[in-house]
C-alpha cells in the first residue's frame, strides 16, 4: 500500500492554498498507510538564501543550541523557524557546507531533511492529519508539493523511514511499492562511499538517484536507469525545484492517477485523493504509462 499525492500549480493564484489542498489530498489517502506521513513543499525564498530543514528527537535542546551557536560558527546570519520537531534554517547559500559541518559538531543527533532554495520537508510517525497539524502544513503556501503516507513493509516505522527522502538540493522522492534488491544495491552504493542511514528500501532508491546524478546523469536519466537497476515494485514521484516527475515500474501494479486542468497537475494513488480539487469534473484524468518518465515544470 502507501499513498502518494502530488500537486503542481499552473495558476499561481492558488499558491496560498497549496498546503491546505495537499494536506486534504493526503488525509484522503490515510487508509493506504497509517504508519507515518510526510510532505515536501516548495515555496520561494527571497535573496540568495538556502533553506535547511532539520529534524531532532530532542528539539528544545538541539534547536536552542543551533540558535545560540550556528550563526557564530559560520560567521553569517541564520534565521531559525521552529516547527515542532523540525526547524527551517535560512542562511546564505555559500555557507551551506560550513553550516552542515557546524551542525554535526553542535548537535550530532540532528538530521537534515532537506536542503534547497525552495524545498522544505516535514515528516513524522503518525497519521497524515496529525503529522500535517504538527507542522501546520495547511497554512503553507507554495508552487508545488508532494506528500506520502506510509504502510511500512521493508523497514521499521521511524521518522527516518518516513517519506519524502531528499535526493539532492531541492529534490526529493516518495515511493509506493517495495524494492526487492535494496540490500545488494545498498552494499554497492556504500562501497562507492554513499551515506545510507537506515534499512529502508526507499532510502536506497533515493541514494541511488543521488549517486547517479553525482555521476553526471540528469534526474530524468537517473529515473530511466531505475527501470534497469531497481528490482521490485515502484511508483515514484520526485519533487524538483520547478515541478515534479513520475515513473512507474514496467509491471505497474502500484496505482497512479493524474489529473490536469489549466490550473494544476495533480497526482494521487487513487482518484479519491483528487475529488475535492477545483473543477476536477472537467479535468483530463489518466493513468501514467508503465516504464515511462513524466515531468511537469514551470
Amino acid at each position: 500500500m502507501c499513498g502518494i499525492v502530488g500537486l503542481f500549480l499552473k495558476d499561481q493564484s492558488l499558491a496560498p492554498n497549496l498546503g491546505l489542498m495537499l494536506t486534504n489530498m493526503l488525509i484522503t489517502m490515510t487508509e493506504r498507510g497509517p504508519d507515518s506521513a510526510g510532505i515536501a513543499i516548495y515555496n520561494s525564498v527571497s535573496n540568495e538564501n538556502l533553506k535547511l530543514t532539520v529534524q531532532s528527537s530532542n528539539p528544545e535542546v538541539d534547536f536552542g543550541l543551533i540558535k545560540n551557536n550556528l550563526s557564530l560558527m559560520i560567521e553569517s546570519s541564520v534565521s531559525v523557524e521552529i516547527k515542532d520537531t523540525h526547524a527551517v534554517l535560512k542562511l546564505s547559500g555559500e555557507k551551506i557546507t560550513l553550516a552542515r559541518q557546524a551542525l554535526a559538531k553542535i548537535c550530532p543527533g540532528v538530521r537534515v531533511m532537506s536542503v534547497g532554495e525552495k524545498v522544505e520537508i516535514f515528516k513524522e510517525v503518525g497519521l497524515p492529519r496529525e503529522v500535517a497539524d504538527r507542522f501546520s502544513i495547511s497554512k503553507m503556501s507554495g508552487s508545488h508539493g508532494i506528500g506520502h503516507t506510509r504502510m511500512a513493509t521493508e523497514s521499521a516505522v521511524t521518522t527516518m523511514g518516513a517519506h519524502p527522502f531528499s535526493t539532492g538540493q531541492d529534490q526529493c522522492l516518495v515511493h509506493n511499492g517495495s524494492l526487492s534488491n535494496h540490500n545488494s544495491l545498498r552494499r554497492k552504493l556504500k562501497r562507492q562511499g554513499v551515506l545510507i542511514e537506515t534499512e529502508n528500501d526507499t532510502e536506497v532508491g533515493a541514494a541511488y538517484l543521488s549517486y547517479k546524478m553525482q555521476q553526471g546523469s540528469t534526474l530524468e536519466e537517473a529515473l530511466e536507469s531505475c527501470l534497469k537497476d531497481l528490482d521490485g515494485f515502484f511508483t515514484f514521484v520526485v519533487g524538483t525545484k520547478d515541478g515534479f516527475g513520475v515513473v512507474r515500474d514496467p509491471i505497474a501494479c502500484k496505482p497512479a492517477i493524474m489529473a490536469e486542468t489549466d490550473q494544476y497537475v495533480a497526482f494521487g494513488s487513487e482518484y479519491r485523493a483528487l475529488v475535492d480539487l477545483p473543477k476536477i469534473e472537467d479535468a483530463k484524468v489518466w493513468e501514467p504509462e508503465p516504464a515511462t518518465v513524466y515531468f511537469w515544470s514551470h
Binding site: C253, Y271, E287
Partner: protein, 225 residues
Amino acid sequence: MQVFDLESNPLRELNATLQLQNSDTNQVNWEVQNPKGRHAIAVGLDAPIEVRVKGSTGYYLGGMNQKAQITVDGSVGPGVAENMMSGTVIVEGDASQYAGATGHGGLLVIKGNASSRCGISMKGIDIVVFGDVGHMSAFMAQSGNLVVCGDVGDALGDSLYEARLFVRGSVKSLGADCMEKEMREEHLDILSNLLKVSGSKAKAEEFRRYGSARKLYNFNIDNAY
C-alpha cells in the same frame, strides 16, 4: 426512481439496501449520487435492478454482480466488476487495472480505455472495450470473450487457456502461448452479437482473433529455466 446520495448517507447502507432487493422488488431503478471515487460501490447485488452511478468511482465497483445492470457515468478504479457472475456493468469513461478480473459471466462494457491486466483470469465473462487496453490483458484467461476495439499493450493473453480475444487495432506483443487464430463464421457471430449488445459501431470483420497455442497445457522440459 430511488436516489441515494453518498455524501449524506454511508456506503454500507447503500450496499445493504441494494443487496436486500430480490427478483420481486418493484424498486428497479436506482441512482447513486456523489460517488467521489469511493470503493466497492454496488457490490454483491443479486437482483435484476438497474443502478446508475453519477460520477467516477474507486476500487471494485460492481464486484460479484449477479443479474443487475450497473452503469457508471464516469470512470472506475481498479477491479471493476471483479468476479461478476451475471448481469451487465457499463462504464462510460475509462477503467483502471484488472477490469473484469476472474469474472464468471455477464457483460462488462468499457466505453473508454482499460488499463493493464484487463480480463485477468476471466472465467466466462464477456468484456467489450471501446478504446485500448494495457499490458498483460487476459493473463491466464480461462473462458469468455475479450473484445478490444482499439489497441492492446504488451503480453496479450499470456498463459492463456480457452478465452477468445478479439482485437481491432494493433497488438504491441503477444504473451507466452498466445497466438493469432483463424476467424471463422462462428467467431464472427459471437463477435457481432457482443458488439451489438454493447452498442459498439465497430464491424466484426475488422477484428483479428487470438487464442491459446495450447503448448503450456502439459509440462514441457524445454519451458523450464
